[in-house]
Amino acid sequence: MQILVLTKPVPDPAAGSERLGPDFRLDRGASPAVVNGNDEYALEAALQLVEAHGGEVAILTMAPANAPETMRKALAMGAQRGILVTDPALAGADIPTTIRVLAAAAGRETFDLLLAGLDTSDGTSGAVAAGVALRLGLPLLSSAGAIEPNPDAATVRVHRLSATGYDVVEGPMPAVISCTQALGAPRYPSLKGIMAARSREIATLGLADLGADLAPGDGVWSTRVEAAEPPPARAAGRVVTGPATDAAREIADFLADRRLI
């Protein structure tokens, strides 16, 4: 099986230092970058699938030029090669452009499955997988909690998580699958994997390599942030100690006051 995984470097949520720049765009220099959490789950799923079915995993990233540092970890986990699309014209790219560019780059690859994290910790729109599927004309199986390909029949089944459990959905391959945490925790890169990653290739593409008209010619994105503020501070709360029955009464009083019971 050939599996392509979309991975995005995002500011490390654990570092807690993400911030917006003066133009209200994400300041990507403000924190160390890591692979987006959900993408790691997608990558882990891909690695397990090729371990079971044979084949290779490649990662596709659209990011600033320093992305190889973050991509190395994905290679160290076991992806065979990486494709980086980077271009100064893509700084601050909006969602439609991101979708067009990723679809154009993915369209140059042969794959049975294209996996993407459900959403990113920095953008959180959750729209990219669907948009890429549309542009590639591929079926979309979303919110995957389990992935079961049938290479002989060229179909794939996915447990699509729902509010009440999951739906078992099936589509033809090649297919696009958006991946959730329920797929299982990503492996640590083994030290052997880290050393092996040194010799794995990351191909770099610019916009010119992908074709015309992917980004707006006038450099104006489809959306613009007009203003950004810190969220309003919460009023300080009250701390309650003491016997459980007293505490329970205080909670109930609080709820009654707020008309919650």
């Binding site: 993400e18 729109s125 509010a163 999951y166 099936e170 489809s222 950004a228 309650v240 329970a248």
Partner: protein, 325 residues
């Protein structure tokens, strides 16, 4: 071009979702501010009931019968109808922040190249177009954003407005789906309900969350009991989910659901940033934890230092007593 705002309603268990009703109210008020109009769209195998509900909130609703959606993925069919509506003059499309809504938004952007403003917590009409307020970067900032062009897609979070019934029910135009989906079909083979299946976390008015302090799957019995007494829904932290005590569908946090309930009650929740991001916008936050230094104390309106296995049952008893037994 006059603003024409399309609300894509979602159907769950045969009825319209609360989020769809909220979006309807939102769109109508924006349309008024814009001097334009709003239209509702319900695409379903049997849209009549949900369309009637939606018409209780909007002047104009299209009920599209797409029988295939009972056995196939819904979003491509909804996309086809949205495209038709856009051809007929729709300028902005509103979808809910749900799995289906986000997929639909992505399909629309992929097809039309429109901009997307996601996770709207509030939308106002500013001069020439909608202005969307959203929380970004795990709660670090609230941004206000606009489209630079004349159209766009907005995904809307639960609780942006209170759904408001229209003065009189709107008109419903019923027809069959005409669009062919632009993607290969994804068939639904089976719908599996998992234990503890209940209403959506994002729609819930109250959420009672079990954290690491719950100690095991049995502890969630207490969480369920309190959720029941409060008319709410059970949620979980990542720690509980990773430990296998409860399904991922219940997880609230950065990699789970973001909720804005009227009441959040956390039991044995430490309040790691990961989780806080998912619930810190709740109106009222109450937490019970043995650890007086638990980070959740920083955002709780009421923080009880105590053993949840003592305070919890005591609270259940108290709630029963106040309810009159």
């Amino acid at each position: 071009m006059p603003a024409t705002l399309l609300v894509v309603g979602e159907v769950a268990d045969g009825t319209l979702t609360r989020l769809s009703a909220e979006m309807a109210t939102l769109a109508e008020s924006l349309a008024e501010a814009a001097g334009g109009r709003a239209i509702g769209l319900v695409v379903d195998a049997e849209p009549a009931a949900a369309a009637t509900e939606l018409a209780g909130f909007m002047a104009s609703v299209e009920a599209v019968t797409a029988p295939q959606t009972s056995g196939e993925s819904w979003a491509p069919y909804a996309l086809a109808e949205v495209e038709r509506a856009v051809d007929a003059g729709v300028t902005h499309v509103f979808a809910g922040v749900t799995a289906e809504g986000r997929d639909l938004a992505g399909l629309i952007v992929g097809r039309l190249g429109w901009g997307l403003l996601a996770n709207a917590e509030a939308v106002t009409w500013s001069g020439t177009g909608p202005m969307v307020e959203a929380t970004v970067l795990g709660g670090k900032a609230i941004t206000r954003s606009v489209f630079t062009g004349e159209s766009g897609v907005i995904t809307v979070r639960t609780g942006s407005v209170e759904a408001e019934a229209a003065a009189s029910p709107g008109t419903i135009e019923a027809r069959d789906a005409v669009g062919t989906p632009s993607l290969p079909a994804v068939r639904v083979l089976e719908r599996v309900a998992e234990a503890g299946a209940e209403a959506s976390l994002e729609d819930a008015r109250s959420v009672v969350v079990g954290g690491r302090g719950i100690g095991g799957p049995e502890g969630f019995g207490l969480v369920e009991e309190l959720a029941g007494l409060l008319g709410g829904v059970v949620g979980a932290t990542r720690a509980s989910v990773d430990a296998g005590w409860i399904a991922y569908a219940r997880q609230i946090g950065q990699t789970g659901k973001i909720v804005k309930p009227a009441l959040y009650l956390g039991l044995g929740v430490s309040g790691a940033m990961q989780h806080r991001v998912g619930m810190q916008a709740a109106d009222a936050i109450v937490a019970v934890n043995k650890d007086p230094d638990a980070p959740i104390a920083e955002i709780a309106d009421l923080f009880v230092v105590g053993d949840l296995f003592e305070v919890g049952p005591a609270l259940a008893a108290e709630l029963r007593a106040r309810h009159g037994g």
